[in-house]
Amino acid sequence: MAGFVQLLGSAGAVALLVALAFAMGFRTAPWLDAARALEEADAALVGFGAEAALVSADGTAALVRGGNGARALVVRRGDRFVVRRLGAEARVTGCGDGLIVDCRETGLRRVRLALDAPPPAWTWAGHRAA
C-alpha cells in the first residue's frame, strides 16, 4: 500500500514538472532552413558532405543531398532535429504540392514536405513514384 501511494506521488510529481516546463515556455518548435538542414545532416552523418537542401515550406523537414548522390531526411522532433540517411528501402513519392518521404522505419512516421515549386531532379534519385 505504501509503495502504491509512493508511486502515485511520483506520478503526480512527474505531471507537475511537465506542466511547469510547459508553463515556463519550454515548447519551442525551431524553424528549419537550408543552412540548418545542411548543418544537421553533416553533424549527424560523418562524411555525408551535405551539398543542397530541399526544405519544406512549413520549416519542419528537409531532404538533403550529400556527396556521391546520397540523400538524407532531416525532420523536427520536439525542439530538436532527427536525421536519417535514405537507404534503398526508402521511398520518395509525389503528392499534390509536395513530397512524401517514407523511411520504412518503425517509430519514424512518413514525412510530408510542402513545396512551392517542383522539386529538383536529385530528389528522386532513381526512383519516382507518382
Binding site: F22, D42, D79
Partner: protein
Amino acid sequence: MPPDLPDPVKLAVPAFAALVALEMWLVKRRGRGAYDWRDAGASLTLGLGSTVAGALTAGLVFAIAMFVWQHRLFDIGWTWWAFVLAFVLDDLAYYWFHRTAHRVRWFWASHVIHHSSQHYNLTTALRQTWTGFFSLAFLFRLPLFLIGFPPAMVFFVAGLNLVYQFWIHTEQVDRMPGWFEAVMNTPSHHRVHHATNPLYLDRNYAGVFIIWDRMFGTFQPELASIRPRYGIVKNLGTLNPLWAAVHEWAGIGRDLLRARSLREAAGRIAGPPGWQPDGPGETSEAIRARWAAQQARAPGAPQAGGGVPGPAQGGSEPAAGVGVRGA
C-alpha cells in the same frame, strides 16, 4: 546484526524533483542548457517506469545475490571500512558494466534508453531502463557478493552511486576545481559521455570516480572547440517513451529474423551497436575513423557537431526551398 539500511534513491526523490525545477529556472534565467516539455515528460515517464520495473524484479535480484553470498570467499563484517571498500569496488563493477553496456548490443538494448534524449539536463538522469533485469545487468555485481560483501551493503552503496550520478547530468555546471575533475566524475566528463560527436563517442564510462577511465584508456576531456551534441548515433524519430524503452530490442529481433548465418546472429547480439556482417557498419570505431580521415583531408573543416558550416546560398536549381552550399 546487519543495520537497517534505507534506500538512498527513495530518500533522494523529493530532492531530485526540487533540483529539476531549480534547473528549469536556471535555464530560463541564464539561457544556458535546454529543456523541452515533451522530452522532459518522456524522460520522467521512463524514470517512473524504471522504478516499477525495478520493484517487480528486486526480490529476484536479492535472492540471486543471497545465493551467491552464501558461497562467499571471505566474511566481511558491517564495519565502516567495508562500506568504503564496497563503494569503491561497486563503482569499479559499474564501470565495467557501463563499458559493456556500450560495447555489446545486448546490454546496449537496455541502456540505450538513458541516452535516447537529445537533451542533457537533470531529467535525462532519471531516464532509466525498463529492461535491466532482462538484460542480466545484475551479473556485474555478483563478484562483490562472492568476495563476501553482504547484499544489503552492496545495494546500499549502489543506491549512493546512483544518487551521485544524478547531479552530473547538467549543463549548468561548467567545471569543478582541478583536483575534483581529476578524481571524480563531473558534469563536464559526463557531457562527453552523452555526446555523439565522433571524438566523444563511447568515452567516460565512470559512475563516481573518473579514475577508472584514466586507468583503462577510455578518458576524453571536454574540449571548448567541440560542443557536445547529445543523443544517440541514430536518434529516435518519436518521443514516445514506450518506443524508447523497447526499440533496440525490436531492432535485435528484426535483425535476428533476417540473419543468414549463425555468425551474423551472434554478431547482431554480442557485437557492438552498429555492427554489420559485411562491412564496418556504424560502430563508434568506424565513425571515428571516418571522421579522422575527413579531418586529415581538410584540417580547416568544421568538426562534426562542433561547428556551423557557411551560409547556404541561393542555388541555380529551379525550385523554391532549395539551398545549395557554396564551393
